[in-house]
């Protein structure tokens, strides 16, 4: 156990040694340059801590401001993402299994996904008066396409023999859907879900920046900009990067668990 852990630690150190080096070079360069626009990482970290991580340990050091900013942002993001996922999978599987339906809606999908989602923000602002609904609408519209397109693809190309086996052994339509079509399409669907999760973060930020939000991470970014608080801005951007990294890695963990059969089945063939 300890040997394995030691080996893993050493492996981690070998892979990550550049991170402290890069940060150190950045620190030195920023101090030498003394530019207001490029604060050193130490100043950014200090400001980050002051802004959001000065709370009690029992709350994971999150300050009141952090709760007030993170919770609404993440709530809207996950809410929009979940809505888009449900809708995208349901619609995508239906389209993937029906050639007729696909024929009717294919051009609409192609056009819909070609519209850059931020283009619709001003419209949603007019329709929803810049409240949370506008932000959720932006996120849903933006992230539904990867889910939809991947679900269509996954459901369309289910192995014919899988379907025929299910028919021969008399599985009902519902069983065919839940036990054959959905699992077979799952690898594709998961790829779409992961892509859309990182898109959701981007659209959350755009929507908060554009929609004059009154709370949230994007609002904080605007606030620091208006107060010319550059360490705060850099800190917020870094925080968003960390958030994106965490979202992607945790999703990967879930994906690996759920699709372990797919990964390993692929390897043995």
């Amino acid at each position: 156990m300890t040997v394995a852990n030691g080996g893993r630690l050493r492996g981690l150190a070998l892979r990550l040694w550049t991170v402290p080096v890069v940060v150190a070079v950045w620190e030195a360069a920023a101090r030498a340059a003394e530019s207001v626009y490029f604060p050193p990482p130490s100043a950014i970290l200090a400001r980050l801590r002051e802004l959001w991580f000065s709370g009690p340990p029992a709350r994971l050091f999150l300050s009141d401001a952090a709760l007030a900013d993170f919770l609404p942002s993440l709530g809207r993001m996950f809410g929009g993402w979940a809505l888009a996922c449900l809708g995208g999978i349901a619609l995508g599987v239906a389209i993937g299994r029906s050639k007729t339906l696909a024929g009717y809606v294919d051009p609409l999908i192609e056009f819909g996904r070609a519209i850059p989602p931020p283009t619709l923000i001003p419209l949603f602002v007019v329709l929803f008066k810049a409240d949370a609904r506008m932000q959720v609408a932006t996120i849903v519209y933006g992230v539904v396409w990867p889910v939809l397109v991947n679900s269509v693809d996954g459901a369309r190309y289910v192995d014919r023999l899988h379907i025929e086996t299910a028919r021969v052994f008399g599985l009902s339509r519902a069983e065919r859907l839940t036990r054959v079509i959905l699992p077979a399409a799952a690898p594709k669907i998961f790829a779409g879900l992961r892509l859309s999760l990182s898109l959701a973060l981007i659209l959350m930020v755009v929507a908060e920046l554009a929609g004059s939000a009154t709370s949230g991470i994007g609002y904080e970014l605007l606030y620091t900009q208006q107060n010319f608080d550059l360490p705060g801005m850099w800190g917020t951007i870094a925080l968003l990067g960390v958030l994106g990294f965490l979202l992607n890695s945790s999703f990967l963990v879930v994906e690996r668990r759920t699709l372990s059969w797919h990964r390993r089945a692929g390897r043995t063939k």
Partner: protein, 257 residues
């Protein structure tokens, strides 16, 4: 078969447009909020001859093309370098993995403060966003080169540079182009986001904001239609380029994230 597909697609579009039109005319949808489909389409047709709008479109296309070009010029050599030097790649991978998830649009307020000119700001942010798909796909393409082909060249006494030029780069090229195609749509999204957030002299995003402040929802939707069409055309051109140039290449899927 193909004819019936086209007919079905046209029918799908027609049904949607007619339904929207009927919903507006019967009062199911408030035309004050959601204008009639015919009004939007007429508006879109009108925009094609509107010199002000055309000026905005060309402004967007200009920053988009400039950003995409710069990103390609930066990311392809970087990807080739990292892809052929495994040590450099392992060393820099964590840095890349930390930089990549930063939402590029979050950089807009910061770059807007730092960059003096509006165009510089937009191009900078677009370059940042468009770099990653190109870089990642280039590196992926370099790893995908058939080792047998490389060994064959070495056996015949070719040096590393010759192997790079004759085997590695040609076989990585389809992946690079896939990366550029993905980057093109990302760049368009970022270009329009920058216009919406930071304004500027012109652009489709600027036009839409202007139309919105005048409550001209029909014009906002009409401009959106054009944004979608531009996205479609760009994507179709790049897909066609991929198919035309790399007919021999089967795996055109690439890495999306």
């Amino acid at each position: 078969m193909i004819l019936s597909r086209v007919a079905r697609g046209a029918a799908g579009v027609a049904v949607l447009l007619v339904a929207a039109e009927v919903a507006g005319r019967t009062g199911l949808l408030d035309t004050q909020i959601m204008p009639l489909a015919s009004t939007v389409l007429a508006g879109a047709a009108g925009l094609a001859a509107d010199s002000e709008f055309l000026h905005d479109v060309s402004a967007t296309v200009e920053v988009w093309a400039e950003g995409l070009l710069l990103a390609t010029l930066l990311a392809v050599p970087a990807g080739v370098l990292l892809g052929s030097l495994p040590r450099a790649e392992t060393a820099l991978r964590p840095v890349i993995e930390f930089l990549r998830p930063i939402p590029s649009v979050a950089l807009i307020p910061l770059v807007a403060l730092i960059a003096a000119a509006d165009g510089t700001m937009k191009v900078t942010v677009i370059v940042y966003a468009a770099c990653w798909p190109v870089l990642v796909n280039t590196m992926y393409g370099l790893h995908d080169v058939d080792p047998v082909a490389k060994d064959t060249m070495r056996v015949f006494g070719f040096g590393r540079l010759a192997v790079l030029l004759r085997v590695t780069l040609p076989s990585a090229a389809p992946f690079v182009l896939t990366g550029v195609r993905l980057a093109a749509s990302v760049a368009l999204v970022v270009a329009i986001s920058a216009e919406l957030l930071a304004g500027g002299e012109g652009g489709i995003g600027v036009y839409i904001v202007r139309a919105g402040s005048g409550y001209r929802i029909d014009l906002m939707l009409a401009a959106t239609v054009w944004a979608g069409l531009i996205g479609l055309v760009v994507n179709a051109l790049l897909v066609r380029a991929e198919r035309g140039l790399f007919r021999w290449h089967a795996a055109r899927a690439g890495v999306t994230q």
